[in-house]
């Protein structure tokens, strides 16, 4: 489930889509991102959600939403049917990391992935102090976290290289949603990537 309040990554994603583009938002929650992209950028949108309450909320928001479990991939979705496939703050909750990344780039021309950076300095500090980090972008206690994969900007980029995925753009944000340019793997709390298949 996604937190829909104060989402600085939404603005980054909005900057990467064009009017008329088809956007698929995986783990779309109540459809807030799609609603924003439809209203502000004129895209056409669809969401995928597993949770009943979110399905209902998205329908109430007038958003196309498909109930499904991302752990089962995007079976049945046609190849290259979307311009962008978004996975916003959800990659860390999916067990089949490579599977979902591969599926995103099968059904979409581009994938947009945002995730909390485990190597953010405050997270490092928390671990050095002997505790698992709890922060703006990692807001859960270790015992109730939906997150099952903990990784950093460098880890993600290494995986992309291994999978032949090309990083087209990257935007890194601090806890307050401000853009980070220096030492992103240390000063960045949340990363947003725009990736495609290598040709």
């Amino acid at each position: 489930m996604t937190n829909t309040l104060g989402r600085p990554d939404f603005a980054v994603i909005a900057g990467w889509v064009e009017p008329g583009h088809r956007v698929l938002d995986l783990g779309c929650g109540d459809g807030s991102l799609l609603k924003l992209l439809i209203e502000q950028k004129g895209v056409r949108g669809w969401g995928v959600e597993i949770d009943d309450a979110n399905i209902l909320a998205a329908i109430r928001n007038g958003i196309n939403v498909i109930q499904g479990n991302l752990e089962h991939g995007l079976t049945g979705f046609a190849d290259q049917a979307f311009d962008h496939v978004v996975l916003s703050r959800t990659l860390q909750t999916v067990r089949h990391t490579q599977g979902i990344l591969g599926e995103m780039l099968r059904v979409g021309r581009e994938a947009v992935v945002s995730f909390p950076n485990f190597a953010y300095w405050k997270n490092r500090q928390a671990v050095l102090n002997g505790r698992m980090p709890v922060s703006e972008d990692l807001p859960y206690e270790w015992y109730d976290s939906p997150n099952v994969r903990f990784f950093t900007l460098l880890d993600f980029e290494a995986l992309c290289a291994e999978m032949g995925i090309v990083i087209r753009e990257r935007q890194v944000l601090d806890e307050r949603g401000r853009i980070v340019t220096e030492e992103p793997n240390f000063l960045g709390s949340l990363a947003v990537y725009r990736v495609t298949r290598g040709r």
Binding site: R22, I55, R60, I63, I66, F77
Partner: protein, 376 residues
């Protein structure tokens, strides 16, 4: 829904006559015909608030409310239609119609064939889903409805909604397809054929002309319904509801009713065989078997649905093994491939295929929320 829980109250069936012949998918022609229908709520001045509710195998036009002289005869989908209910009659004008070939007042095998002066019986031409939709479109013409705000149905009713969106794309603004499939599987057809064989081999069937013999193939129809009922329920639900319970607490080592499930199925079979017409049952199951709109596009459902212009809400049920969620998703994925507006909900309910008739709060909220956002 919550609160007063008042339905549409007292309703009356109406009859429309169509004097223009209808050419059928099978090559046959119905020279003239009647359709019986009911309406609930008020058609607005722009005639933009009409919803057509299509019925399934054994359904009819009496969707909601009750008759003045039959207060216990409540419509088959009453729980979803009414003021404040998902199909809100304060906002929408709801139409239920008994399909051609039916046995609840519309022209069907038990009607008189004008050419012979006798009941049609087995001579009634084979009707397909597309024929029903064309007949319904003529009723819409009579009612002055150019485009439905929504066409909706469960099971075979959902297939009519799908067919509407393909055959009359400009006349369907939204299609709500519940517990349906884009075509039947071999297993689905197999069950239908066993049901038909039960009727066709009943000595009282008389080749479909049993009306003239003052009899009815009650045994065959009863078996057909018993078999059908097994496929409408989930294994879990059957287990929970009946288990291995014995009516008299001990084995009686005979063939009379012993297990509660036997009692239930025989009761359902007897009840159904008491009022339903066997020829109609045969026609309806064949219409199911033949349904395959993608056949027009060499099996490419994506190409077929590309002709639709409607927004879609597709709903399936977790325990439905007659038309599983995977079958509904075939429709969803074909629509997604062409960038159509579609939402899909998979409802966790324990009643198998029959779940679509249940008043589950989440299920009804999904339907109600979708309809609430339709602009009129």
């Amino acid at each position: 829904m919550a609160g007063q829980n008042q339905g549409v109250g007292q309703v009356e069936a109406q009859r429309a006559h169509f004097a223009t012949p209808l050419a059928l998918r099978s090559g046959g022609v119905i020279p003239e015909y009647d359709l019986v229908y009911e309406t609930y709520g008020q058609l607005n001045a722009a005639k933009s608030n009409a919803i057509l509710v299509c019925h399934a195998l054994s359904g009819h036009h009496h969707v909601a409310g009750h008759y003045a002289d039959q207060p216990d005869n409540v419509g088959w989908w009453d729980n979803i239609v009414g003021p404040g209910r998902p199909l809100d009659t304060d906002r929408f004008f709801i139409v239920g119609v008994n399909n051609l070939g039916g046995c609840h007042g519309s022209t069907g095998p038990s009607s008189i064939n004008p050419a012979t002066g006798k009941p049609w019986g087995a001579d009634f031409p084979m009707v397909a889903v597309i024929d029903w939709v064309k007949a319904q479109a003529r009723l819409a013409d009579q009612l002055g409805i150019d485009a439905w705000a929504a066409v909706m149905g469960g099971s075979l009713g959902g297939m009519q909604a799908l067919r509407w969106s393909i055959t009359f794309p400009e006349r369907v603004r939204h299609a709500i397809i519940v517990a349906a499939a884009p075509k039947l599987s071999a297993q689905n057809i197999a069950f239908n054929d066993v049901a038909r064989q039960a009727i066709l081999t009943d000595p009282d069937f008389h080749g479909g002309h049993y009306y003239e013999h003052n009899t009815r193939p009650v045994r065959g129809l009863r078996l057909a319904r018993m078999l059908g009922h097994i496929t409408y329920l989930s294994d879990d639900q059957m287990g929970e509801k009946f288990g291995r319970e014995l009516r008299n607490g001990a084995f009686s080592f005979g063939f009379d009713v012993e297990f509660e499930i036997e009692s239930y199925l025989r009761y359902q079979g007897d009840k159904f065989a008491g009022y339903f017409d066997a020829n109609t049952y045969l026609l309806m199951t064949k219409a199911l078997d033949y349904f395959d709109p993608a056949r027009e596009d060499n099996g490419d459902l994506t190409a077929t649905l590309a002709r639709s212009r409607a927004g879609f809400l597709v709903i399936s049920f977790s325990t439905d093994w007659r038309f599983t969620p995977a079958r509904s998703k075939e429709i969803v994925h074909a629509l997604l491939a062409r960038g159509r507006d579609v939402s899909y909900a998979e409802i966790d309910l324990n009643f198998g295929h029959d779940s679509f008739l249940m008043a589950d709060p989440h299920y009804h909220a999904v339907v109600g929320s979708y309809l609430a956002r339709i602009t009129l």
